[in-house]
């Protein structure tokens, strides 16, 4: 009997989660007359026009390209610098280590709204405004601390004896790190990369503030659907559906580590 009630709870909760997403998908497959004129639970005249608009208009699909470029740059940058740092935190005591670790955390907690304006001025003054690298650098503000914390959590699980044995066997530090240590924390690197990717992908405030045309992210392009002839709801919905896909595709691979990632490696 208990099993059945819990199944009902889960079904209800998941329906609650999926209903709004279904509605978005539903709208993306309708034309605007059907959206505005009639109220239908599923598309009467199934159309792919909205998706076609996005995939054929450079102003639209470049938004996705821009987003992907800065997100990938940010992910690579964050994980690369975070790896040695996380190793240092997980293996050594050094002067100021606790303060530094805490300071990193505060950056994860800093409201992007506080940083929006100074970032705008900083990147304008060094001529990086409206470039992908500007957004990628700005997002390191919260992604580097996140990556350090996640990786540190995974590295703590690797016994220290492995390092010592490798040094006795004559491995140099870089050699040991790449050849022996990295494969041991491969899943940690994957999870850290996934979370860096995700948080850079979902962030809008900074990426919108730092770009105007050339590096404009898809999230900001979506505001374009408001035009003189009113709102193009169908295209807006289709654009929304397309932004969900990257997350939905990779989520399966990290399903068992999601909690660990969100908890900054502390589960």
């Amino acid at each position: 009997m208990r099993i059945r009630t819990s199944a009902i709870v889960m079904v209800l909760y998941i329906v609650f989660l999926l209903l709004p997403i279904y509605w978005l998908l539903n709208m993306s497959l309708k034309n605007n007359t059907e959206i505005l004129g009639t109220f239908t639970l599923w598309p009467d005249n199934l159309t792919l026009r909205n998706f076609r608009v996005i995939l054929t208009d450079p102003a639209w699909y470049m938004g996705y390209v821009n987003s992907i470029i800065y997100v990938v740059m940010n992910t690579v940058l964050s994980v690369t610098v975070a790896l040695p740092a996380a190793y240092a935190f997980s293996r050594y005591h050094f002067i100021g280590d606790k303060h530094l670790f805490f300071w990193l955390l505060t950056n994860r907690m800093a409201p992007p709204a506080v940083f929006a304006l100074p970032f705008f001025q900083l990147y304008s003054s060094i001529g990086l405004f409206d470039t992908h690298i500007a957004v990628a650098l700005a997002h390191t503000l919260f992604n580097v601390p996140l990556a350090v914390w996640i990786l540190e959590g995974f590295m703590r699980g690797v016994p220290k004896e492995i390092d010592e044995t490798a040094y006795i066997d004559g491995y140099s530090f870089p050699h040991f790190f790449v050849k022996i240590f990295m494969p041991l924390i491969a899943s940690g690197v994957g999870v850290a990369a996934f979370f860096a990717f995700m948080f850079s992908w979902v962030e809008l405030l900074l990426s919108r503030t730092l770009t105007s045309v050339n590096a404009k992210p898809i999230a900001a392009t979506m505001t374009r659907t408001v035009s003189a002839s009113g709102m193009d709801w169908g295209v807006l919905a289709a654009a929304g559906v397309l932004t969900i896909i990257p997350g939905a595709l990779v989520i399966y691979f990290v399903r068992n580590y999601i909690a660990k990632g969100f908890a900054l490696g502390r589960v």
């Binding site: 909760y13 989660l17 999926l18 109220f39 997980s90 709204a113 703590r156 962030e203």
Partner: protein, 290 residues
């Protein structure tokens, strides 16, 4: 794990330090700079001392935004934490359905913030949205663009939809770490469902719940994009939270001085809470190790 003292480890940390210093310290110094100066344009600045801080501390606008923000964060926590625990308790323990639940539940967490806003904007519109339309058909007078209470309800339901899964996933991870033997012992003692929850599951979830509560507190405290897309801070100023107000002030009106003073105080609040979070968490880590 016992760590060796090695100050050369600073070299390993150096890249992170340089990068984060560039993207955190320099901008923060700019903010400090603005907060104590005034300008009449043309990049000419005058020393203003603590004038902006005084103005902001006594400003009704800030007080109202702060008040709304607190109320919002408290409501979010009161709903999401118990609901998240409840969902986690009902999740399948292992097997195919556990994976299905994990993947589906994580889905809202990975949607860009403004798309979350768009989804709910569409979903709750009276003319084209499923929720709005259904409520209207049931005879409820619901309109989130003109009624403050409806706007609040929409923003809160949206946040519950968006983030409850985070609490649930963390609690689930905590539950998974409880050895089966504990439950068997409870069975032998003939402990009821409530007793099992109170004396076995809740203490074991303590660590992850702490993280969940503080993450939810932080993130709801700096929420910007989702309510901005759905309500634009309206109707009136009903859903203008701290971040929305700050961006309005800094980028909309370009009131640099007051906005900078506002930013610093905002950041200080966050810093204080982060510190409490960090202290409690490291203490828990130590207890676990001991």
């Amino acid at each position: 794990m016992d760590k060796t003292l090695n100050n050369k480890a600073w070299f390993l940390v150096a890249p992170v330090l340089v990068l984060v210093a560039f993207s955190a310290v320099i901008p923060l110094m700019t903010v400090v700079n603005y907060s104590v100066q005034d300008t009449f344009g043309n990049n000419v600045f005058y020393w203003a001392g603590l004038e902006w801080f005084q103005e902001m501390i006594t400003s009704d606008r800030l007080h109202e935004a702060l008040w709304r923000q607190m109320l919002f964060s408290v409501i979010i926590l009161v709903i999401e934490v118990p609901l998240g625990i409840f969902v986690a308790l009902n999740m399948p323990k292992k097997g195919f359905w556990a994976s299905v639940c994990l993947v589906l539940m994580a889905l809202p967490l990975l949607i860009p913030f403004n798309v979350v806003g768009t989804i709910w904007q569409i979903f709750s519109r009276v003319d084209i949205g499923l929720l709005g339309h259904t409520l209207a058909a049931l005879g409820v007078d619901y309109n989130y663009t003109s009624d403050a209470l409806d706007a609040w309800a929409t923003v809160i339901v949206m946040d519950v939809w968006h983030w409850t899964s985070l609490v649930a996933l963390l609690s689930y991870a905590g539950l998974q770490s409880i050895p089966e033997a504990y439950y068997q012992a409870a069975k032998i003692d003939q402990a009821g469902r409530v007793a099992v929850f109170r004396y076995i599951e809740l203490p074991k979830m303590q660590g992850v719940l702490l993280i969940a509560i503080l993450l939810r507190f932080m993130d709801s405290f700096m929420i910007y994009t989702e309510p901005f897309v759905v309500t634009g801070g309206g109707p009136g100023n009903a859903t203008t939270f701290l971040s929305i107000d700050l961006v309005k002030m800094a980028i909309g009106q370009f009131d640099l001085g007051p906005a900078a003073a506002f930013s610093l105080m905002y950041f200080l609040v966050i810093l204080l809470v982060s510190w409490v979070f960090y202290t409690v968490m490291t203490n828990l880590d130590r207890e676990e190790a001991a």
